[in-house]
């Protein structure tokens, strides 16, 4: 690539500067980086809430937090971790990495992706502003009716929770659609379905689960707000409604949600293991099939959250079977990973350490999960600290540990510098020991009868010692996370400069500079095999530069669109220019959402600015129009009449 073309690309794809410019960015790396940082800040906030809870529970009948504040804090902890950290963080990694891994210049719908981020950001700010003005939700992250209903949930607390759900699931849905279309239509030529990296497979399966699960909780939270503000009777038992309808709607989303959090973590592990074991992943096809199987079965086992509500026993036994069946694909994945590690003596750098930590913790979480699948045992341990231990072993052990592995693994790509190795080891060991000290005693607490979400417990129950141990563990784990922060800040300044491919990995994101330029690749790569970079190196050991695509205009934001199955070049299209309108639409939509808590008239009135902003977003500017005309009539060819018959059939 000659310098002149590189300069032209640089100038065409440059991201706007300045304060206002910040809100106009549309490139997936700038939006993805903000997404990751915002989600991590909410992770820290959720962690602080967890520490406050642990301090209150350290001693029987502690008075550090009163019941009202404790209930708000445990709800904020659950809501922040599940809706503001876990799902957005996994999607953020997808937004940053998937376009790079499939060899595209940008995500499919860049402005829609930016809109999704701003809705998520404004939703998070809205929740925390309401929390600090005393309106923090206090009905749990599941917000069961009738406690969250109009009669027993006075004030606006339950509405704040329900509206936050509307924010986060709108953001998740929008980003999920962008990710799916990116993977289906913008892959580099040659990347057929069986050459897609496993991390990208995981993100696609997650995106599909989001698209099918999130609308259910959107409907549920809308019905709850209608019940509370407009006087409908969805959940009013006296007027034909049913309190269990809320539980069904919530958990039909709830269980896929926890797999939405877990499956990207399996993708991270499948991306890290080949690099550190220096061999191709063992069992690519079984791993992909396991991902898809987990995605499907996840929708069939939500009633195991409701085993104690007296549903007919035949229904419960079906869900027991489904809950146990889902352990098979997960087991297959673990066996394939161990087979990948077999005999390779991997380099134990921080990413690999966190993956090994994942194996240790997730196994305990998975096995207790299988125990919880049985109705009779679940009747004893449901809604006790045994379940708190299980969920933290699968969420922290199963998702946060691989996430930290991913942070260390992709930190050179995002920041251009290597993360500190020694601090990395300290961070890992403190988190591993702190995590196990905090949550392993909770299995015992649950079996000794300590229910969940209690702000205090009587002295004579025999729970004091284990709770104190858990609190100490919590302090150690917090120290571990603090070390991670220190490591990040230190490495940003003094870390050694990381080249294009510090770990000698195989996926395409390592084929460009770190951090990648706003146009990702100097020239679009052509994929030769499943492990793109390794195959290129072996295949072209002798000849010149690896195969690339030419003919994509450098003076316009033009990208190559390829077919779904075999990623053969199909046509070219223009990516939209940076624009302020996605941000303004997000602000208008937030105004509508927040206003509708206080008066139903905010919906029709608020819809006007939203419509205006969306129309302005869509309306092509003169510049965009001229660019499109030029791109479509490139080299004097009139817009190709749709000769190919294949396009006709799709009415």
């Amino acid at each position: 690539m000659k310098d002149r073309e590189l300069l032209q690309l640089e100038e065409t794809w440059a991201e706007p500067r300045g304060f206002i410019g910040w809100f106009k960015c549309v490139h997936h790396t700038s939006i993805g980086r903000r997404f990751v940082i915002t989600a991590f800040i909410f992770f820290l906030l959720g962690g602080i809430e967890a520490v406050l809870m642990r301090i209150q529970l350290a001693r029987p009948e502690n008075t550090f937090l009163g019941p009202d504040l404790y209930n708000q804090i445990f709800t904020m902890h659950g809501t922040t971790m599940m809706f503001l950290f876990a799902v957005p963080m996994m999607e953020a990694l997808g937004v940053y990495l998937v376009p790079l891994m499939v060899g595209a210049r940008n995500i499919a719908f860049p402005r829609l992706n930016a809109f999704g981020y701003y809705i998520y950001l404004l939703g998070g700010i809205f929740l925390y502003v309401m929390f600090f003005t005393g309106t923090g939700p206090d009905n749990g992250w599941f917000s069961y009716v009738p406690l969250a209903g109009p009669e027993y949930g006075p004030g606006k607390r339950a509405d704040v929770w329900a509206q936050l759900i509307t924010f986060t699931e709108l953001s998740a849905l929008v980003v999920a659609v962008s990710l799916i279309v990116t993977v289906f239509k913008l892959r580099a030529p040659g990347m057929s379905l069986n050459r897609i990296p496993l991390f990208v497979w995981a993100i696609v399966v997650t995106a599909f689960m989001i698209v099918f699960a999130m609308p259910t909780v959107a409907l549920g939270s809308t019905c709850l707000i209608l019940d509370r503000l407009v006087g409908t009777h969805f959940f009013n038992p006296a007027e034909g409604g049913d309190v269990l309808l809320w539980q069904h709607l919530f958990w039909f989303f709830g269980h896929p949600e926890v797999y939405i959090i877990f499956i990207p973590a399996t993708g991270i592990i499948s991306a890290i293991l080949p690099t550190f074991c220096r061999r191709k992943i063992f069992g690519y096809t079984p791993l992909v099939l396991s991902l898809v199987a987990t995605g499907f079965i996840a929708f069939g086992l939500w009633v195991h959250h409701m085993f104690t509500t007296g549903l007919p026993r035949i229904a419960q036994s079906f869900f027991t079977a489904a809950s146990m069946m889902i352990a098979i694909p997960t087991g297959a994945q673990i066996f394939c990973w161990i087979a990948t590690i077999w005999g390779t003596r991997p380099r134990l750098r921080p990413p690999m350490l966190f993956v090994l930590g994942f194996f240790f913790n997730f196994l305990i979480g998975g096995l207790t999960g299988v125990m919880l699948a049985s109705v009779s045992l679940d009747q004893q341990v449901h809604d006790t600290f045994f379940v708190v231990a299980h969920l933290h072993y699968v969420l922290i052990g199963g998702s946060v540990f691989p996430l930290f592995a991913g942070f260390y693994y992709w930190f050179p790509k995002m920041a251009g510098r290597m993360p500190g190795d020694r601090l990395g080891h300290w961070n890992f060991w403190l988190m591993l020991i702190g995590f196990n000290l905090t949550f392993f005693p909770m299995h015992q607490l649950g079996l000794k009868g300590m229910p969940r979400r209690v702000y205090a417990y009587l002295p004579g129950m025999g729970w004091g010692g284990l709770n104190l141990l858990a609190t100490l563990g919590g302090v150690i784990m917090t120290a571990g996370v603090a070390l991670f922060l220190i490591n990040v800040f230190l490495s940003l300044r003094t870390g050694e400069v990381a080249g294009e491919n510090p770990w000698d990995a195989a996926t395409l994101e390592w084929a460009t500079s770190s951090p990648p330029p706003p146009f990702n690749f100097d020239s679009l790569p052509i994929v030769a095999g499943r492990d793109a970079l390794w195959d290129m190196r072996e295949g072209h050991s002798g000849s010149a530069a690896p195969a690339v695509v030419t003919g994509v205009r450098g003076d316009l934001r033009e990208v190559l669109v390829t077919t779904v199955l075999d990623a053969e070049p199909d046509h070219k299209t223009l990516m939209p220019d940076p624009s302020i309108w996605p941000f303004l639409s997000a602000v208008a939509t937030s105004g509508l959402f927040i206003g509708s808590i206080f008066t139903p008239w905010a919906v029709p009135v608020g819809a006007v600015p939203v419509t205006i902003a969306l129309i302005a977003w869509f309306w092509p500017t003169r510049k965009e129009h001229l660019e499109r005309i030029e791109a479509e009539q490139d080299h004097g060819r009139t817009p190709a009449p749709p000769a190919e018959p294949v396009t006709q059939g799709q009415a």
Binding site: T133, G134, P150, P154, G155, T599
Partner: protein, 181 residues
């Protein structure tokens, strides 16, 4: 430009304070004027120029939890028996604009504590002052006197009347001279 910023700042602070107050859970604070206040005159007919009552702002009127407690007590003390859900029956309607013994919080408080002729029992010593002030706040919300975001929504029972939250604010009229219903 900074005047606009000031206005927005002030608006946000007042909003924050309002929502702070609306959401506070006052478990054991006894409200001001909780002592039996017998300085309340029922009638506007007084020798000389009529002196207005010493108006008393009950703190429960901005507190959503206290008003919902008032609603719970309104049902468990069987006020429903005579006043129904505000529509009235044996007792007068509480959701309309007509008030015989005054609509101000201190008037309603003394009506509950003193009792009234034609059937209103006296609840002196039968309910604590905190409970009485909570019921007062709820009774005033039935005719829409309270802010919309403080008044309670519908309850999980048969849907008899519009929730206090969506009740239009009535302009109270004290018909002391008129023959009480």
């Amino acid at each position: 430009m900074n005047s606009v910023r000031n206005i927005i700042g002030v608006a946000l602070i007042t909003l924050a304070l309002a929502s702070c107050e609306r959401e506070r859970r006052r478990f054991n604070e006894v409200p001001p004027g909780a002592t039996a206040n017998d300085a309340v005159r029922q009638s506007v007919l007084q020798p000389g120029a009529p002196q207005p009552n010493q108006h008393l702002k009950s703190v429960y009127e901005d507190n959503a939890w206290a008003v919902s407690e008032g609603k719970r007590l309104y049902e468990s003390f069987n006020c429903v028996g005579c006043h129904a859900h505000g529509g009235g029956g044996i007792g007068p309607a509480l959701m309309d604009e007509k008030w015989v013994y005054g609509d101000q919080p201190e008037n309603v408080f003394s009506t509950i504590i003193e009792g009234r002729p034609n059937g209103m029992p006296s609840f002196r010593a039968k309910i604590t002052n905190q409970q009485a002030w909570e019921v007062v706040a709820y009774v005033r919300s039935m005719s829409g006197q309270l802010a919309k975001d403080v008044s309670p929504s519908r309850d999980d029972d048969m849907n008899i009347k519009t929730p206090e939250q969506s009740k239009e604010k009535e302009q109270p009229v004290t018909k002391a001279a008129e023959h009480p219903k």
